[in-house]
Homo-oligomer: 226 residues x 4
């Protein structure tokens, strides 16, 4: 499973609607929409769900977090090797609900690379996006925390924040893909995001908590094609 | 899957030797020894391995940690509901490699109860054992951190620490089962632990990194019978 | 400077109204009320203010937090020895705005004792109060976090929580003094607290943000005498 | 009190040898050497010592850490405003003994600026130095953690790490001053650091634990003049 851009990355968080069998069902919807449209849809699931989703759905699966610890005597930690072995091809890092120390992000990115995992480093603003870009993740996502879960899209409500981030990241690493997230609920939010220079979106409740997630994903994917 | 005492609880930590397929293999060894001897052997695995081990091995499976967060917008966290759904019947809490805030242990124990999960609260000494006992977990494990992974058994090297813990816990909660851990590598370590008033052991490298884990588990289980 | 019960313990938090010179001014008000009434009033100040308040005010001064680290290579930490040397006679631990790991509270209490500092361990409910009581602090304070800063007093709005805490602590350590806090703003709140079996109150905004803190302290102290 | 480059920044950590009166004595030595040589020597002290050192020594005083919280209900935290009011002109951030989340460093730098405090952001390698440089601190210090406290100087043992850091920071912010630290014990270590393109050193045990700290500081300062 490989990713391609534009990318729709669905974050299941720890929502009941996207846990266990329901994560698998969401993965299958994503697979179906991806097959229909040719747009890459990946899903970031809880560690307990990686194996099931990765073995039952033909889409790229991400972890939501890894710890920087190596394999060994680290009870309770989530290693790069464990999520890889379970079937993930990448991981989110430093999500606003799981912020990390700067040296931990650096170490986790290095461990992910050695385990052949992609890294999607999250940031709350342009400055922090630039900082995490300096640590050479596979991609950066900017998400203003105050918009997460609101349904007010970063790409329409704060376009200048997205533009500023795209520019800031470019200064540090001109080829690093930038995504945006927070409040994305419609295809036009996705379209607006792409127009601002991003190569995709990170979305959670907009899909997971939708009445018909497959319909929303289709709307998103079509927006990537127009 | 239910537990019974005496209990041998095997902590896989994030050892390569007990990740993915190898966690399943270890679970099957535990199942085999448990069937032969009638002694309860449970296994605490990484979150990525709970589903596979629980669905393939007829032994009680524990998580190594849960967060106190409920289901919802908590990216990267491990909820009681998620580990339960994946097949765990309990969880370690506050292991020396994953120490927690006192209010977090309280909250996690309450969440575990509402998700019908057992809780095995770890502590580093008699005082902290007494403190976590006050939070009403299903059992307490005392592990002097300086002996973890050494092969020097707490039950033979520091019997007074174990006795002191058993007494301290009894003052707070007379019926709460107490286990001990750290350095347990032989059946006589297990036997010594039981003689000190514990109802079982928490063991990691002594089993996971043994040349023949099944043989070690058999030695441990037989020690519980004598 | 020694403490006595009933005790009014004023927590300056990081309020602008109780920083630097203003902390000293508040300390002098407490000293004046204490002299007038004979009731012990102590003040918990920011580490930057301990020296000034302790050297200019004849009242017991507490730190708001200490780390468990010893003296040595621990940049940015606050040691028991440093706050003692600056003039504190005790410290808060595990305040709801500064929650700590259970093993850290245990270690910090032990370090405080060796530096001859009193410890006032905070807790959010009866279970956690019992847990921290097991670690042998000098006193315990229960503060339901949802009432902190509201002006709705724990002693009048949740008397059963205070009673339950007093009883729970007694089981673990019959002679350990218990205080309560959260929402204390009037003398009758203080009186109600004492009637419930506590030996004092922890108060912050009710004094620090009052128009006339000295008047409020006098009201509190008089309530201790009636 | 202003700083100038080359800068010798002495970190007192929580060493007994640099606590309370002894921090003041060390500050006076620094003042004396600074007066003799004209080289700027600043001192980073524990929060409990800022007021005393700043009011008794005519040298720039730094805090060792600030939290990102504003003034208000944040018991146990160290605010920018409090250390400023006590007399500090700047603060270390993200020292290897006090690592911080990337968003916390960003927020702390912004709060420090609004309180008119300088910020000296620490990093463990070139990548993390580049990351923290993106957050616009007043200066960056690279310190390989494995050399801290060893007496083996980063500037002579790992000159390539220092060069790589100076280059990496320049890419993000061409005018940002870079210092280095870890193992600095002699004037020639300082000289080597300056030759590599840094504008100063962060030093701790090399001065604090020296038999004659004033002599060492004089050696360091003279190395800045040659």
């Amino acid at each position: 499973m490989k990713i391609s851009y534009p990318l729709i990355l669905v974050n299941c968080k720890t929502y009941a609607e996207a846990t266990g069998d329901k994560a698998v069902r969401l993965g299958k919807m994503a697979e179906s929409v991806s097959n229909k449209t040719g747009v890459c849809i990946a899903i970031a699931v809880q560690p307990t769900d990686i194996y099931r989703v990765a073995s039952q759905c033909a889409i790229p699966v991400f972890a939501q977090h890894i710890d920087p610890q190596p394999q060994g005597a680290f009870t309770g930690h989530v290693t790069a090797e464990a999520v890889k072995e379970a079937g993930a091809i990448g991981t989110l890092l430093n999500h606003s609900e799981m912020r990390l120390r700067v040296d931990v992000i650096d170490e986790a990115i290095k461990r992910a690379k050695s385990a052949d995992l992609l890294t999607c480093a999250c940031a709350n603003n342009a400055e922090v996006s630039k900082a995490v870009a300096a640590l050479n993740p596979s991609m950066v996502v900017v998400e203003p925390p105050e918009l997460i879960g609101t349904g007010i899209s970063v790409s329409t409500a704060k376009p200048e924040d997205v533009l500023k981030t795209v520019d800031a990241v470019k200064l540090v690493n001109p080829t690093l893909p930038v995504l945006c997230g927070a409040g994305i609920t419609t295809g036009s939010d996705v379209k607006a995001a792409l127009k601002l220079g991003t190569v995709g979106v990170l979305v959670a409740s907009g899909v997971v908590k939708a009445k018909n997630p497959e319909e929303v994903l289709l709307d998103f994917a079509n927006a990537c094609l127009r």
